[in-house]
């Protein structure tokens, strides 16, 4: 079995250790005897490269980099939307998460259009409000998700997306409504760095399983991987954050 993992803009959208998510996806395939083929989709990639991607990933970046990416992504938005609507599993972190929404409202009130794939929008609250920074723990359908957040933008969800989870400790999408992230079909958006997948292997395995199911037709069974180190890393943060933690 082979999975093609499409990494959108690895050169530019990689500021917060995002490569970790790619490493985790590919190793968790490899350790199960599934070949992971990583496609590096940098500025100027041909849109048909998206066609055979079984999992998509895109990370966060600085403003200047995001502008460069935005103009390149504009011409590929239609295909990306098709893929996401068809149920291609994907993970979109921080800047990428905001990109997939309807718009990003700058502090001066001007709006920058997003790709409009996720029913959500983001507001920049301006210099006077603090960035939301720190360790974060949420309760989700993948159990507790544990990571680190660092974002200025406040994201608000519309009706046609679900939240990824409810915040137990930390800020989440906007620090107000106690939601974090978004789930639409098989795509997950989140503010989690850390990066998100190493300490949350259930989420990683969800993406891999959906990809296999879609590609190979039947309901696949993923062979288990020893997760005791992951458990220790999760437990250490949960304990520090005063969150009750039972084995996931």
């Amino acid at each position: 079995m082979i999975l093609n993992i499409g990494w959108l803009y690895p050169e530019l959208m990689n500021v917060y250790g995002d490569i970790g998510n790619i490493i985790v996806l590919s190793k968790r395939c490899e350790w199960r005897g599934i070949k992971a083929n990583i496609k590096y989709l940098d500025i100027g990639f041909a849109v048909n490269e998206l066609e055979d991607c079984d999992i998509l990933f895109m990370g966060g970046a600085q403003d200047r980099q995001q502008k460069i990416v935005a103009s390149d992504l504009k011409v590929k938005a239609k295909k990306l939307k098709e893929k996401i609507e068809a149920g291609t599993p994907g993970l979109y972190v921080c800047g990428a998460y905001q990109f997939l929404g309807k718009f990003y409202k700058e502090a001066d009130g001007s709006k920058v259009n997003g790709l409009g794939i996720f029913d959500l929008y983001t507001e920049n609250p301006g210099e006077n409000l603090k960035r939301l920074i720190g360790n974060v723990v949420i309760e989700s359908k993948f159990g507790k998700l544990i990571g680190f957040e660092n974002h200025g933008g406040r994201t608000f969800l519309g009706k046609s997306v679900e939240h990824l989870g409810k915040v137990l400790k930390g800020f989440g999408n906007n620090g107000e409504d106690s939601f974090e992230g978004a789930v639409y079909k098989n795509s997950v958006g989140s503010y989690f760095h850390g990066p998100i997948l190493p300490k949350n292997p259930k989420l990683a395995d969800f993406l891999i399983k959906i990809a296999l199911d879609r590609k190979y037709g039947s309901r696949t069974r993923l062979s288990p991987i020893e997760n005791s180190l992951e458990e220790k890393a999760r437990k250490a943060i949960a304990k520090r954050m005063n969150v009750e933690y039972n084995k996931s």
């Binding site: 050169e11 530019l12 250790g17 490569i19 600085q62 760095h193 190493p198 250490a236």
Partner: protein, 425 residues
Amino acid sequence: MNILLVLFGKIFSLLINSLSLGRGSTWPGHVALSINDNFSRELLRSSKTKIVIIAGTNGKTTTSKLIGTILEGTGKKVLHNKAGANLENGLASTLIEGSNILGKINYDYLIFESDENTLPLILNKIKPDFLILLNLFRDQLDRYGEIDSIAKKWELSVQKLNKNTKLIANADDASITYIAQKSKLKTYFFGLNEGKVHSIPHGADTIYCPRCNSKLNFEFINFSHLGKWICNKCKFKRPQLSLDEFSLYPLPGTYNRYNTLAAVLFSQLNNIKNETIELSLKNFKPAFGRQERIEIDGKKIQLFLSKNPTSFNESLKTISNLGAKNLLVVLNDRIPDGRDVSWIWDIDLSPLKSLKKVFLSGDRVYDIALRTKYENIKNYQTFEDLGKAITFGLKNTSKNETLFILPTYSAMLETRKILTGRKIL
């Protein structure tokens, strides 16, 4: 007024030191600044001391020490801020320490290594004779923000300097060159012409043109995004170098060749002869935690402060070249380290495969262990307790080997405290 503040500050540090409350390296300055915001400027205005300010993500401390050693080798009196005291209050405290009770500074040179975020604040108040800009890499994003925002702040504050300041800048870093060229300062560039890498390594930051946002082309790369670069679109390119090599590099590692070149170029501009520079460099002792050697019970230890992806990668390459067999990595996530440990996924851990034993410790021991596991490395052991990790590491290091330790900043202080019984030597 300032004389009173100096006097008060001196008594204050004396008290702190005699009561062993810590080094007392920032409090006196903090108090002085809260009473007179222009304290440092006014104190320096009345002295003939030449001011040297050094900034950059990596290499500040080593470059400062190199310059200090060379200047002292020529008989100059040098005042240098203490480790970690690199904010405005650190500068004020250094000046309190360096002035006599009449508030007079009788030093030939003041070397101030500045925190990245503090540089614009300092330059607003103090116009240095020399400004040295080393590099900009991603580092503690939760504290410093992204490097573009630091670069922009530097650009604006350097523009405000007048022609009395000479700029020494790393030409191999496109973001530093851009800041230099946007200023009107007389600039002297250093760089290295030895890179063998042609593809851009993961985690390199400035790989798009700071002027026009097109992708840069690299003839070669020394490490990260440092190399011989050109923008094929707007023709912005690495400028002519004033210095690209020297006869002696006192410390191993490509990054230390950059630090040495910065120090040598500074010395040449201060009319110090190459032979004199060489002589001082021969006797150079590394700054604490930066390739510092410690010996305990006949066992050798060497500390390589590794605080961000670039410094970790370069430390790892350097110890591999030194034939390292045993390694202890200590990952903390306290304020001076940055609370976010995501950066460990940006480092290239493949050199670990050639080591005999790897020990892992620190507040985030299981995060670095996970990173190691995902590199398919099996020969590692984890220790929640740093003391145990060091003891075990030493036990497993034979007398003819060295235990190399790569710690983050607070982990380095903690490690030294355990090894030497004191916080900072």
